[in-house]
């Protein structure tokens, strides 16, 4: 099969909201969670009823909430994406060294990040795609270390149909061996013992089809459940 005929099953893929919804189902009540800037922030919208995670932002807040109404922003009260936020009861402020002590010190339960590539050994590339332009890393390299679970949410393939789950990352690395689970537009895949292990896949596709759009061998160590999400 060549690239031009690779069937990436765009016809059945989950939307970004559905990928975020699925990841949100695995966050426990009371968990301390950091959501990366951009797509991962969407996970906060889909917390299951009865559960309340406490969200951490690198610039120094625990338990921040939604954006305030326009015109009511306090620009000292922002998140890591520099967007105005509000506070929930029980919020706390702290300086940057304490904030990253929470990150590296193993105090966060979950970090959720985007990805350009994830390798079967858990390597992540998500901060730059080449050597051109102005490099900017922010907190990405810190966030991949320390959280008890580091999840990636991503499309299963790139916009031009190339695998994002690969044997070895070709883009510059963010961290080595750091990712524990990947939620994609087509599957939920754990990384165990340097292998991709499929936990869930869309019912409308076969494991062979999923393998065909993945750049590294897929494994199973039990039944593969159907990946089911609501219409969002």
């Amino acid at each position: 099969m060549t690239d031009t005929t690779l069937n990436t099953r765009e016809d059945i893929k989950l939307s970004n909201a559905q990928i975020a919804w699925r990841a949100a189902q695995d966050i426990e009540d009371g968990a301390y969670v950091n959501l990366g800037i951009g797509f991962p922030e969407m996970v906060a919208r889909f917390q299951p009823p009865g559960r309340q995670a406490i969200f951490h932002t690198e610039n120094g807040i625990l338990n921040f909430g939604e954006a305030p109404p326009a015109g009511e922003e306090d620009w000292d009260l922002i998140n890591a994406g520099k967007k105005a936020v509000t506070l929930k009861p029980g919020a706390a402020f702290f300086h940057h060294a304490d904030s990253f002590a929470m990150v590296r010190g193993g105090h966060l339960d979950v970090a959720i990040l985007g990805a350009y590539q994830v390798a079967e050994n858990g390597d992540l590339a998500n901060w730059r795609v080449g050597s051109k332009g102005v490099p900017a890393v922010g907190g990405a390299m810190d966030l991949v270390h320390g959280a008890k679970q580091v999840f990636v949410i991503t499309e299963h393939v790139t916009k031009d149909g190339k695998p994002k789950l690969v044997e070895k990352c070709t883009f510059p690395l963010t961290g080595v061996g750091c990712i524990t689970r990947v939620y994609t537009s087509h599957a939920v895949i754990d990384i165990r013992d340097r292998r991709f292990v499929v936990r869930e896949k869309l019912a409308a596709m076969s494991l062979e089809e999923l393998q065909a759009m993945t750049g590294a061998p897929l494994h199973t160590d039990g039944p593969v459940a159907d990946l089911t999400v609501p219409a969002l």
Partner: protein
Amino acid sequence: MDKTLASVAEAVSAIHDGATLMIGGFGGSGAPIELIHALIDRFLATGSPKNLTVINNNAGNGRIGIAAMIDAGMVKKMVCSFPRSSDPRAFTDKYLAGEIELELVPQGTLAERIRAGGAGIPAFYTPTGYGTELAEGKVIAEFEGRAYVQERWLKADFAIVKGQLGDTYGNLTYNKAGRNFNPLMCMAAATTIAQVSKIVPAGGIDPEQVVTPGIFVNGVVEVENPQQEEVLIRAGVAHV
């Protein structure tokens, strides 16, 4: 003892050519805009200070603050984690033209290097960056079966920061998430100047509420209604 300074111009008057300067804030949150602009005004009037090495999480936004310092030609080098913003033109143009140096540091490593500088710890080991291009050439060591990167402390000649309340002893509080890098930079600079919204007498801040003890602060200047970078940018303000 009274660490009060009369004006922002006086507050930045000792910052010299070639100085290493920590500037507090994360984007516009907690950024000492008036102190930065006073420094730019001095440069425009006298040609000094120039060839500055500036340490901040970012590298400026729009045409104010650190971006305006870069536009004015005062900055030789930026040490930062994320030299991007909603309008990063000032840094981007100079960087791509080879006219400004960049030391890119992961955000948590930047914070810890500054903390270490203030705490007298010359180096430490962190998992951050191991196996990436930002760890190339650095000492690696294994602890309990895991690899870590050695990072060095970061110190400065001067820090300019923004607080909420300051007293005459230099004790500081901050506004919300505006504290970010500010307390760390206060510790890591030989001379720290804080702008605060209000200066109160010693005893005017409950000791339980002090975030930065005055031992880390050399001068305090009152800026009653400080400007916010985000508001200035939305209004299209240019300082240079």
